[in-house]
Subunit: 378 residues, 2 copies
């Protein structure tokens, strides 16, 4: 096992990249999808299952973990890997995004951000240095800089102010992180929907020679074309030899199109959240198990899947579990969805290696467009 | 595999019995605890896990299943075993108890009971014949007679009326069930807290020569001594060669004391419900994971357990999951609790075989009384 964090490009097909991030806790095959383990648990899943599906890395949220159970407590208990029983790599976000979206009474200035917990109203502050300290206490393998992620649409001046602040915070995080050969701290490109600001952000971060780069502030409601255009404008500015992480993205379609533009890493709550709301991601597209058409359907979601949740349980049973709010419904659909996402990533990686990524995308897109199998005749 | 439902007594120790119920779908080792699978799912568990813990049989609730997904639908889908993916024996209740406790606008007469669904207000009726029909549609292996279970305390006249009605309904269920060699229909002893009524009920049911007998109307809030006294008065009247099922019971202490009196089968929501409310059943007694004493405790619930939920996860992590309402908390504690109940039943069975049942009860009771391991020094 390697002692140093490193990234290798194993193959490319157009701008799509097949790579490997090596860390002391394991190898992450890229393009990679990171299941979201918000508070030290991927909701409705045993982490052993998540591993068995092929996940090399999961994500933890600093905002949630600093409030409960607390970063110092996790450190006393041996770090997040021991705490949650996930001995493989973990990426943590900086906490900034969720401070903006969940916390109350935020006050942001050059120093950092002060906020009230949405749980108990207690007051906390997060500076670039404290965010890195918390991520260190969690013993996170890939740590993210604190940034300011603003809502779009916004005025250019406001986008630029937040982008420049994020750059200054990136530098403070770089210093706070220091020299940790087995771990990485990633910078985050900001700049809203403005190409020149995105490029300036990417150039200045590239100059810091960080171990990886994320694109932030996307997948916050803008049309997919806007997101893809920003990737087209931004990624060429980032160094080829570093991993690129598109934060909070996305649908299967977002993922294949972003990989085509050179993204290596993704995280998103969609497969887990949708699973708890009766929605299944499949090779036939998204299926709503609440729909009455499934009530008498003995067929599984996808008999060709390796995942028991997709292969072994009837749609009628899944429909029943969803309609009666039984926890097994969320358990099975989350399992199915994470299995589908990991299968998609495995397919993406194989297609890049085989230099047939465009054909692969056309195939999966066609299958999604064709839609679900016809309902059984009544 | 046997073609006929049968019960064999393999060993006794005092009044405690070690037996085996043989059915086409499998053997049930008694004394047995049946996890409650209300609506075709044991909440927060995969049924494969339930099986792996040593459960030979689970329980389904007619009231829930007739409302959703509907008995005729389950029949079209191949029966409850296929629907829920549990190919082993299933016992179903008659629906009567939950009509009394959950439904609205009940109207009960000699014919049966009419009620409004607590789900959508729709009107349904349940007669002895319809209850058996529904249990047949579900393809239940052990079916229960429809009975009237009244609340205590009650006047003697009221207890007697309900007991006599239950006897007439037992006879109607016996006729409706007919001759099904591979399955069984059990009668239910009623009679409140009145010994002579309980004995009359038991005698009249015994005369019907049913394949098994339940004691109903207990564990509805009365002190444990009352329940045990009724068992002492009732069980000698029931035929030795038939299985005896104490419905809705109970705590581990209720179970060991009822086995000592000759009970063979139990069901109870306690281990599953408690698991979703942060409570763990262990050999140290019941542990409340919400308690702050666990917040920094790296020790598992019970390092000697075979169950991963008990052995591998820290109390600190379980505390965190419970406090943050993460579904994995309920999943792990339900798993732990059902594992503990099945371990207890295995211990009970081994102790009866070894003719050391009293000593076994003294040992487990002493361990419960001693309580949990001391908290870690702060």
């Amino acid at each position: 096992m390697t002692e140093r964090f490193s990234f290798s490009l194993l193959a490319t097909d157009g701008r799509a990249r097949r790579g490997e991030i090596a860390m002391p806790r394991g190898i992450v095959r890229t393009p990679a999808f990171m299941p979201v383990g918000t508070a030290g648990t991927v909701k409705a899943m045993y982490l052993d299952q998540v591993r068995d599906l092929g996940a090399d890395i999961i994500l933890g949220n600093v905002y949630h973990l600093m409030l409960r159970p607390g970063a110092e407590r996790v450190a006393r208990l041996g770090g997040l890997h021991d705490f949650a029983r996930w001995p493989h790599p973990i990426l943590t976000d900086s906490g900034g995004f969720q401070v903006m979206s969940l916390a109350e009474l935020r006050k942001l200035d050059e120093t950092g951000v002060t906020f009230r917990s949405h749980v108990d109203g207690s007051v906390h502050s997060l500076t670039p240095e404290r965010s890195i300290e918390i991520q260190g206490l969690l013993d996170s393998d890939i740590q993210m800089q604190l940034d300011e992620c603003i809502r779009l649409p916004a005025e250019r001046a406001e986008i630029e102010r937040a982008m420049e602040l994020s750059l200054r915070w990136a530098e403070r995080c770089r210093v706070a992180f220091g020299d940790q050969p087995g771990k990485a701290m990633f910078g985050i490109v900001q700049g809203g929907d403005l190409a020149d600001l995105r490029q300036r952000s990417a150039e200045r971060l590239a100059a810091m020679d960080l171990k990886g780069y994320a694109v932030g502030g996307l997948a916050v409601g803008e049309p997919q074309e806007v997101m893809l255009a920003i990737l087209d404008e931004t990624l060429p500015v980032l160094p080829q030899e570093k991993p690129r992480y598109l934060m909070g993205v996305g649908t299967p379609d977002d993922i294949i199109k972003s990989v085509a533009r050179g993204i290596d890493m993704f995280d998103c709550v969609m497969p887990t959240r949708a699973g708890r709301h009766g929605l299944a991601y499949t090779r036939f597209g998204k299926i709503n198990l609440k729909n009455a058409r499934h009530a008498d359907d003995p067929r599984p979601l996808d008999e060709t899947s390796d995942c028991p949740a997709a292969r072994d349980y009837s749609r009628a049973y899944l429909h029943h579990l969803v309609k009666t709010n039984e926890s097994l419904g969320g358990m099975l659909l989350t399992w199915n969805n994470l299995a589908y996402y990991q299968q998609l990533m495995a397919g993406i990686r194989a297609a890049i290696e085989a230099k047939r990524y465009d054909a692969f995308c056309a195939e999966v897109t066609e299958a999604w467009a064709k839609g679900d199998m016809p309902a059984l005749a009544g």
